[in-house]
Symmetry: C2
Subunit: 434 residues, 2 copies
């Protein structure tokens, strides 16, 4: 048998503990697949006496992560601490000391992936991170390798389980955001402080990672236009139902043409209405799914559990096997691919579609006045539905594609009109053809 | 720039012509992703003057495939001829002459993959074949690499578009098999001789490939229990509807325990009822999808177009980029993994569930007699539904899991009973928990 491949794990929380468990339980299979035994040589934790889900062999626990990653005999470092620091410094140190790295750290990759990729390149080591997006669902490897001979044009993802659970609950029960959030918290799908999920920060980090891979460019979390779901009302969800649609928080990365005819990347996270017939519409509860469109392959979808210790650990160990095999053979897998170096299109210039519901005075000429407001901003209307309701009426307008800036200006304009009592719902529409 | 990587293509039909087209159109991107220009040096065809979908540069066409694969300067051979011979000899010759190989040839891999894998191993070259199963859907790479740290327990696939189109049509329109087949033929979804599709041969080859990868064992097409859809009646489909289920032709590969407590592979292709709530139930028309269950990741699904020149070419070129990169670096990707060497469980010993619809005399004691017949063969009944219809009655029985042999014997027994007028529908039930 070949000499063992030595692995250090940073962090022993919900993911780390499952990684440690599987390293033990799957040892024989991992050895066969790597071509050498995989030996756990250290687990870095914050406190030695914390309760944890797995029993770590005595002597392997340490609070000195910096010393662990600097060991000369460590071949692969698995980073599942999360957050920017000390994760970044530890990964950089691991690479400098000759280890390859597997990480699940979406926040770090989306904020400062370039630093990590350059360090891996310089060290001649692998940096793999399948677990950073959509948990157990193999999506990064398919984008990076399976679709390497194709041209990806769009990625639409439900990549945050918490918000999908909340929106699904609102759709099925008619609940408002607040009640659905409370239920999600009670069931453990949302954290006590749900900001990172419900404000879209988590999805935005994943959108940046997906956009970078899909379009061979560097896209960071700061490039992502981000809107959360806290403003989504029961009325919005009802409006969607009336259009045979459903509201989802989507991470969107698209190839678009800018004003100069150059291909640019539009990358954004926001709630949107999608038709119930769209494959993403049937993604229920806390599941994740990523829908990919490419020129030759057409439409693909990848579906599965987007979070959880055990599913995320599956993705980590898949990367570990690849990285370990490469490490043994002295080779590297695919590194960063940013050659296309495409610009990010500002949100205002991105062409989208709006669904707008408006309470208006029920009198003659209202529809004409509203249509004129759209026209003044160069926004073409696809459909309009008018419903009288006693004194007032409701207009529901769905636009054709226009720049987001023109659509936003149209909505501002509507809000200023005397005949408009209230703009009750504004939401983008995705997943339909023009 | 690095010196070009030289590629030969065998076959210029619907897939080959799209490969040639994309090699031209995506040349810049392919060069950037491989790290060297990709140069097409020859296209082997049966006849030089056949009409084809793509213009092949003058001088590249040849009818001498054997000479093309034996050229010393060819780095990668793409085989999209299909069939056993001459494809096998050409692939073996290519490997012997130092080329790596990308193929879409499911029939050959399922019949004699071992010979090819061993030749690739001996030559130190890659043999990649993502396009052989489910067209553009990345499924082999996820099974081979992304899930390499996990234990796959079951693969359920809709891997034949023709049969899915026919069954979907029968479900939505109530048509019988013959009419649905005619429509599929008229629309180009089925061939004039539909045997390979409707009798399950195509799906069985793919099931063998999926089972080999999922369970790290050698499984051939001969190991696959195969039943096609020609016997599926409008009544079966109606019966499924009444159970809120749908009939699909499934390729199934499962890890099961044999009588000695050893893990063995059950691999089979047959029509089955699955609940409409199952993710595979919503796979419509000629689309494909593969549902994977594993211990740590849980349930994953991969969905997309399962055939067609351009989608299949996308999968071929994804492999080409990986193989080309490895070839340049003098390394290899993951070779065959058959270390687990699991036995294939005979169909008779495989535990399945049956849905049986029986026309019986409408008199007292019938249900008891039928229940006794199930009990005599050790088959436990999960549900039974009885419907009187004038003189006779219909019983619909769904069993718990039992060996397929016991279930088949039960159905034979029922057919021999005096009170049984006809066994009108027998179908396996999948995608539900016991």
């Amino acid at each position: 048998m070949n000499s063992p491949l030595k692995v250090a794990v940073l962090g022993c929380g919900s993911v780390g503990s499952q990684v440690v468990r599987l390293l033990g339980e799957q040892a024989d299979d991992l050895a066969a697949r790597v071509g050498a035994p995989v030996e756990l040589v250290g687990v870095a934790v914050r406190r030695l006496d914390s309760p944890r889900e797995v029993e770590v062999p005595a002597g392997l626990l340490t609070t000195d992560a910096a010393a662990l990653v600097a060991r000369d005999d460590v071949d692969v470092v698995i980073e599942v601490i999360g957050g920017i620091e000390p994760a970044r410094s530890l990964i950089l140190s691991a690479l400098e000391h000759g280890a390859s790295v597997v990480t699940a750290n979406k926040a770090l990759l989306a904020e400062d992936g370039a630093t990590l990729f350059e360090a891996a390149e310089k060290a001649g080591r692998d940096l793999y991170y399948e677990a950073a997006v959509a948990g157990a669902i193999p999506i990064l490897r398919p984008l990076r390798e399976s679709l390497a001979g194709d041209k990806v044009t769009r990625v639409l993802g439900i990549v945050n389980g918490t918000t999908n659970f909340i929106l699904d609950k609102m759709d099925t029960s008619g609940a408002g955001f607040g009640d659905a959030l409370e239920e999600a918290q009670a069931l453990g799908y949302a954290e006590a402080d749900p900001t990172a999920d419900v404000e879209g920060f988590d999805a935005a980090a994943k959108a940046a990672i997906l956009a970078s891979l899909a379009f061979h460019s560097r896209v960071t979390a700061n490039d992502v236009h981000r809107e959360g779901i806290t403003e989504v009302s029961a009325g919005d969800v009802r409006s969607a139902r009336e259009m045979d649609s459903v509201v989802k928080l989507l991470a969107i990365a698209e190839l678009r043409t800018d004003d100069n005819g150059e291909e640019a990347v539009s990358v954004r996270v926001h709630p949107a209405m999608i038709p119930r017939s769209h494959p993403l519409a049937s993604v229920r509860e806390a599941y994740n799914a990523v829908f990919v469109e490419s020129e030759a392959a057409g439409q693909l979808m990848f579906y599965g559990p987007g979070a959880g210790g055990s599913p995320t650990a599956s993705a980590v160990l898949g990367d570990l096997v690849t990285v370990a095999r490469n490490h043994r053979q002295g080779t590297r897998g695919v590194g960063e691919s940013a050659y296309a170096d495409r610009a990010v299109l500002p949100m205002g210039e991105t062409r989208t579609r709006y669904h707008v519901a408006i309470d208006v005075d029920d009198k003659a000429g209202v529809l004409a006045a509203v249509a004129l407001a759209f026209a003044e901003h160069g926004v073409s209307i696809q459909t309009v539905r008018q419903e009288g309701r006693g004194d007032d009426a409701q207009l529901v307008v769905v636009s054709h594609e226009a720049t987001d800036a023109a659509l936003a200006a149209t909505v501002d304009h509507l809000r200023d009109m005397d005949i408009v009592r209230e703009v009750t719902s504004v939401m983008r529409v995705e997943g339909t053809e023009e």
